[in-house]
Symmetry: C2
Subunit: 351 residues, 2 copies
């Protein structure tokens, strides 16, 4: 197959981890006889510096002509004081909205041998394997009215039935391919949008008799993620709850530096990026752990290109490198050899 991938390195360690991930992507091409054409674009702080726009028109054009987008990370102290229209994250919000990437998939999985790095006691963290499915283009992020005066401000949490239906379906479909359980998170005892959300989940449930459904209030979910993290399979929720809960979940296993994410729509087009940020403190040092970016490539192969075998090969290779006694600076283990960003990618390719 021939696929075009837009690569937006972004800021900080986004540069080096994306480079590493592209190397792995190209090696998958050679190994499995695909052609991946890579086209670069600017986003985030670097785009502000070079074009005055966190999401320049040329970047949108590049992405539109591609089959998927690989993104590094955006942001850094340099742009923290910018007015809101000139902030790196506007690029991220803009690209999600422009391309209608309504489903954010965030897997969180305990990595064998890494429970030391987890804040949780071992027996709680060791079997964690969940996928948070977050609605990404609706809710408080984009609802109108949204404005601020000196004396007050308002944001609007709006959802149409269709917006809820498509993300809930996504959750059910994914659960079917995993452990067969959906936890729907809302605040139905207080919010009208949550009552509609719960109604939709109850309706959809009928079409997925093989999937077990649990409803949790968002406050209860925030507790249960800590006290019983291994009880979750697929968690489906609205935009802001998903933002909070997926970040909460991301630290449970101690493998934050290794978590990928996908932001997709129904036709297979998607944006793939590590969960970690731009880590300006270690940027340019070639020491960042590129696993999250590489695993994001695996998600791209799977969800955008339907290349399941290739995706598994990449995943397996990443975990094997750790099993073989290597590590990166963020997840050091005694007796393990620390690899640089690029050397890690080479090892993955070797595997």
């Amino acid at each position: 197959m021939k696929k075009t991938v837009a690569v937006l390195h972004g800021d900080g360690v986004g540069q080096e981890v994306t480079e590493a991930a592209v190397k792995v992507l190209q090696s998958v091409g050679r190994r499995f006889d695909h052609t991946f054409e890579v086209k670069k674009g600017l986003i985030g702080g670097i785009a502000i510096d070079e074009t005055g726009d966190p999401l320049p028109k040329e970047t949108i054009d590049v992405c539109e002509k591609s089959d998927a987008v690989l993104l590094g990370a955006v942001g850094g102290p340099k742009w923290d004081q910018n007015p809101s229209e000139l902030r790196p994250e506007k690029g991220l919000l803009g690209i999600r909205k422009h391309f209608g990437l309504f489903a954010n998939l965030r897997p969180v999985k305990a990595v064998k041998g890494m429970s030391e790095a987890s804040p949780l006691k071992d027996h709680l963290s060791k079997d964690v394997d969940m996928m948070i499915v977050r609605e990404l283009t609706g809710g408080l992020y984009f609802g109108e009215p949204k404005r601020k005066t000196h004396n007050g401000a308002v944001d609007s949490l709006t959802y149409s039935r269709e917006e809820i239906e498509r993300i809930v379906e996504q959750g059910f479909e994914l659960a079917r391919l995993r452990k067969g359980k959906v936890t729907s998170v809302d605040k139905a005892n207080v919010l009208e949008t949550s009552k509609l959300w719960r109604e939709v989940v109850e309706e959809k449930k009928a079409h997925y008799p093989d999937v077990e459904v649990e409803h949790l209030l968002v406050d209860a979910a925030a507790m249960k993620l800590i006290t019983q993290p291994a009880s979750f399979d697929v968690v489906v929720t609205e935009n802001l709850f998903g933002d909070i809960l997926s970040d909460e979940a991301s630290v449970l296993t101690g493998s934050l530096g290794m978590l990928p994410s996908a932001s997709i729509r129904s036709d297979g087009f998607g944006l793939y990026e590590p969960v970690h940020g731009s880590a300006p403190d270690i940027a340019g040092m070639n020491i960042a752990n590129p696993s999250a970016a590489i695993l994001s490539v695996a998600m791209m192969l799977k969800y955008s290109f339907g290349m399941e075998t290739e995706a598994s090969a990449v995943e397996t290779a990443v975990y094997s490198v750790f099993d073989d006694g290597y590590c990166t600076t963020d997840v050091q283990k005694s007796g393990h050899r620390v690899l640089t960003t690029s050397a890690f990618a080479d090892k993955v390719i070797e595997e």
Copy 2:
């Protein structure tokens, strides 16, 4: 002093833990020469059953004639399928709004010798001592428009500058009496209300040069609560973020059954209640841990009646009972003698 306390037992274990707490309150009266007149009222499920209203007019009258309110817990499976106007929690939301109880104080403190019960590794949980200050009468809970049709729904996140100012001040005042640090939590990179919130915090900061201020985005806060829980002192945030984060924080130390809360306004009037729920599975068995209800009485003594000495005496007594080798069914320890709800209260009184 003479004080009148409205006591609303509510549902499930609310009955027995509140009884225990009232016994302790009366013993404080005898010991320190105060008169506490107790007036009962109905709230929650039991109020629905007996009057058809989760917050009957008579209950509001009783509270209005009192100096503070002690509440047990509301809710249970019996009322879970009720339409939203006839749900126990409507009583809770109603009483907060009716009395303008805009500040919810939720202390979370590690209890010596109880780190076994914490989901976190010992070194993370042992020094936790924070107070979450949650705005309780604004934001998405009450903002208009708030409605649902078949095809869509909307909730409104509204805040006036004044609503933000008074809760932020509350946070600064409390920090001054504690470790001198305020963490303000918002989502200022996305929400207009959060931008206003951050502006107000920056303004107020000037009046509290002795207090250190940290701004955290809500997603980052959800992570840091787990990875560095002991780094927090006072956390101040809006209603829904506070709902989620305070519940998240409540499980960190393994002492959920022992956490009290206060919902107050500026003139000292307040409502005090355990953080735990009505626990219908163990209701009526006289085994529930009444510590949270008793510590809620301590908060009442301190925040509504200005009785600092009395409050400390109650707090110390509760912890001493555990130190003396007793426990309750929820926090059993080998070698410790399990006490019933009422026996625990008697021990506290003895101390």
